[in-house]
């Protein structure tokens, strides 16, 4: 008799008791370990099968589909390595683009391509609609972002500091990182300026300068966020930190977003892209 069969033959009350006994043992075992170990186990159990793969697959199809008022695909999009070259591109973003005379991050460049190649209007992309609601169907941006990042898995992070505007974005990003404001006097540095710190049980990377922690933090976004039930982009990650800081709402693709992402990216140089990752 198989285990399953025997299990099914048990009387319902016995099954409930067995399940409860197992649950009690699990709780007792969990309490013997440190809370952090238990959380680590939980995170490890998540790594098997990342739902962001589905976002990336949908994103790839979207990338190659003719859409928008101009009925064009995104296959001619230049993410920094030349038109149509997706592989490895986001490891060197944000960077300066001569055609727009701006420093642009991956999302900014993606939207630029959707506007110039497909004919969408810039104002169609804003803080209210680039992110899907918790557990809701992914937005086009989320799927496309998953695809272009997935194509750069394993690529070395190499965010440039050559053009004066790239240097200015880094400098402003650093100043913004330390900028205390709002009702709670918080800056990014309030939580991210020391090693070994946590909010509740969530570990906080020290993002003040070049380090392994800075590399990991940058490499792993965008990510599938289990608690949100969806893929979340780097622009979302930054605005959600600032929401917790009690700042006003960060505009999608704003200069401050690009500045902070540039600051984090340059500090992550030498790491390897690992996005979309899977997060709590």
């Amino acid at each position: 008799m198989s285990f399953e069969k025997r299990f099914l033959d048990l009387k319902p009350l016995a099954v409930v008791s067995l399940i409860m006994a197992t649950a009690v043992c699990n709780v007792a075992n969990a309490q013997q370990k440190s809370a952090k170990d238990a959380i680590d186990d939980y995170r490890a159990s998540l790594q098997d099968g990342n739902p962001a793969d589905l976002n990336a697959a949908r994103g790839e199809a979207l990338w190659k589909t003719k859409r928008g008022p101009k009925n064009a695909s995104l296959e001619a999009c230049d993410l920094g390595l030349g038109a149509g070259k997706v592989k490895g591109a986001v490891g060197s973003l944000p960077r300066y683009f001569a055609d727009t005379n701006k420093v642009m991050d991956a999302e900014g460049r993606l939207v630029h391509c959707m506007v110039t190649l497909q004919g969408f209007k810039p104002e169609e992309f804003n803080a209210k609609n680039f992110t899907s609601g918790a557990g809701k169907k992914a937005t086009l941006i989320e799927d496309l972002v998953a695809y272009i990042y997935d194509e750069s898995r394993g690529v070395a992070i190499n965010v440039p500091q050559d053009h004066p505007m790239e240097k200015a974005a880094f400098a402003r990003g650093k100043d913004t990182f330390y900028f205390k404001g709002g009702t709670h006097d918080f800056s990014c540095a309030s939580c991210h300026n020391q090693d070994g710190k946590r909010i509740r049980l969530q570990e906080l990377p020290n993002l003040t300068g070049p380090s392994k922690a800075s590399q990991d933090a940058f490499a792993q976004w965008p990510a599938y966020r289990v608690s949100q039930g969806g893929l979340r982009t780097m622009q979302w990650r930054v605005q959600d930190c600032l929401r917790g800081q009690r700042m006003p709402e960060l505009n999608y693709l704003s200069q401050t977003s690009v500045d902070l992402i540039t600051f984090m990216g340059v500090n992550a140089n030498g790491g390897k892209m690992a996005a979309p990752a899977l997060k709590r």
Binding site: G181, T183, K197, R198, R200, L201, M247, E249, S254
Partner: protein, 231 residues
């Protein structure tokens, strides 16, 4: 107004308004100090503020004036960005001035309900752009501190507050013996900058995050002998 001592200023935002009204010579010095605020010397304070203001939108309770730094925010931003501690004399002067202006409860009652305090310590919402305007705020103490032993999900940005009252010899927080610790704790919660200028803890009273009644409940969580914190 011209000779108003800093000691009469208990709110950093009020301080800015008052400083703005002081003589033009002093204003010029303050202005220079503001320009020196950013860290790298590449982006000026005015450029940075312009970029920030164009990058955010007002939503819910979070207006753009959250980007207007008060003097303490400016001083501590500069200190942390450069890694240079605030000048000792300046720090002492501001802390003393802020401490001297802590408004204590007029009814001299400091200890509310520790169960209500525990709820406030657990609640991390309020005043975010995603919160309703006027929604009472939590204090989210557990984000940074260990407090009651039952809660194992606590952060470590701040020190452990477990046994806060017991460890300070508080047996009856309403007694004369406990008065100094009780008043210090109130000041710590009301405006932490009065004790540690660049502390990362919010000014729960001064910035109107918590009401006085809520502060008393958090006081009870820390100081009431019946609170699990002191068991």
């Amino acid at each position: 107004m011209k000779n108003m001592p800093l000691a009469s200023i208990n709110n950093a935002n009020t301080a800015i308004i008052l400083i703005a009204k002081i003589s033009t010579v002093t204003s010029a010095i303050v202005l220079l100090a503001s320009c020196a605020a950013p860290s790298t010397g590449v982006s000026s304070a005015t450029d940075l503020l312009a970029v920030l203001k164009s990058s955010f939108s007002e939503r819910g309770p979070a207006k753009l004036d959250r980007l207007d730094q008060n003097e303490v925010q400016k001083i501590c931003t500069q200190s942390e960005a450069t890694g240079k501690p605030v000048d000792e004399a300046v720090r002492k002067k501001i802390e003393t001035a802020l401490y001297a202006n802590i408004p204590y409860p007029t009814d001299s009652k400091y200890i509310g309900n520790w169960q209500a305090g525990e709820k406030i310590a657990q609640d991390g919402t309020g005043l975010q752009f995603s919160d309703a305007i006027g929604k009472p705020s939590g204090a989210n103490c557990y984000a940074c501190h260990q407090i009651a032993p039952k809660e194992i999900s606590y952060g470590n940005l701040g020190p452990s507050l477990y046994k806060y009252g017991v460890n300070r010899g508080v047996r009856d927080p309403n007694s004369k013996d406990a008065e100094a610790i009780v008043k210090y704790t109130w000041a710590r919660l009301w405006n932490t900058h009065s004790v540690n200028l660049c502390s990362s803890m919010p000014r729960f009273g001064d910035a109107k995050i918590l009401t006085d009644a809520q502060l008393k409940d958090v006081m009870a969580l820390l100081l009431d002998p019946q609170s699990p914190v002191n068991k």
